[in-house]
Symmetry: C2
Subunit: 226 residues, 2 copies
């Protein structure tokens, strides 16, 4: 059996062709009570004119997390938001041009924060309604529809056992707002009284209230311990 050292020597002498490694970015937000995702329109073949996930190639001196943060900054125009690695997609024919392995990252951001900085963005990034995208026949570039479906599933699951819902809200928010986010992510309505009992463990009061609406004002809360 060939030694590891010899194998690597041959491997690096292009006896073996290396795949390329990219990071694809799923930047989710909530706008107008709908879960949305940032997509760019492809300018060139293949899949020219079709929506696609923003992505960047991983630099040789760059970690995956760094590539993801760079991609979010370059393609979606924002920095400092929550993100986590999702899954790595490695089917052979997923890009018709060449072998590209894609490490997908999921990012969650408040809509206002995303909009504020979006003016500076270089590419034609747009928000797409995730459920419309996935439940229609609409086509996306590459295997990106499958990837987005995987991301939506992850969000739904994590909403049950973690606190990712807060990522979609500003620092201060009302309980009805928080409940609405949960309802959108879970895809079902919740009972107000029960929701408030559970949520109360995760939040702390501020002394501020909403005002100006033609109904009872709502207290503003803040996320606890963090």
């Amino acid at each position: 059996m060939e030694s590891e050292k010899e194998f690597l020597k041959n491997y690096n002498k292009d006896e073996y062709e290396k795949p390329s490694v990219a990071v694809d970015l799923l930047v989710f937000t909530i706008e107008n009570d709908r879960l949305k995702i940032v997509l760019i329109e492809r300018a060139e073949p293949p899949f020219s004119g079709m929506p696609a996930l923003p992505g960047v190639f991983v630099g040789i001196n760059e970690t995956l997390d760094e590539a993801a943060a760079r991609g979010i900054a370059e393609e979606a125009g924002i920095t400092g938001i929550y993100f986590e690695q999702l899954y790595t997609w490695g089917d052979v024919g997923r890009d018709p041009r060449m072998r590209i392995i894609s490490v997908s990252y999921m990012s969650l951001a408040n809509c206002e924060k995303l909009k504020l900085i979006a003016g500076k963005r270089t590419s034609a990034a747009e928000l797409y309604d995730v459920d419309e995208l996935l439940d229609s026949e609409c086509e996306l570039a590459f295997d990106h529809k499958k990837i987005i479906r995987y991301g939506r599933e992850r969000i739904r699951n994590k909403t049950e056992y973690s606190n990712i819902a807060f990522e979609f809200l500003p620092d201060e928010f009302t309980l009805p707002q928080l409940q609405k986010v949960y309802e959108i992510l879970l895809g079902r309505t919740l009972y107000k009284a029960n929701f408030r009992k559970k949520a109360s463990l995760l939040i702390e009061e501020t002394d501020k209230m909403t005002s100006g609406d033609a109904h009872r004002p709502s207290r503003l809360y803040r996320r606890k311990n963090q």
Copy 2:
């Protein structure tokens, strides 16, 4: 701004150096009431003589799942067992020789099945006690200790909300056996009566019983709907 096509042309002309992509394998099993993992002893530098996860490079015409299955067959000597993708590790210096991005896969197998075919294996694969490994100062090659810790965490979490525990058992098993597996994976004892009530939803009776032990025989069960 450079067009995508031009960028790719340059990218493939080695103006950009590509990372290598490998698959690292976490083959878990239960032996003597302990969670164990298959490790090989490294024969060459770096980390010569230290235990390491088995792994293979991803072929240019091979999906990640195929590479994982091939790796499990080549390095651990078994086929047809449960596996799933775990996480992708891409720190720049994780391999001192070159930039290698590692897609880790986790595999769960019954100990007997693993032993039966292990005779054919080519490399010096051995079973290591996972908790001993992780809770001691013992060193592992590369970032493999971190990866194994991540794998143990995933197993613990999935034990709560999925049925992965069954993967460690033969096709027919007793309820005390099943309970023991859960206790090992979760790291705590469970109440017999409660466990049986929950487990009864997932299993179906056979008409076989254990025999030969100096106590009441135990019924053998089989996993339901699958």
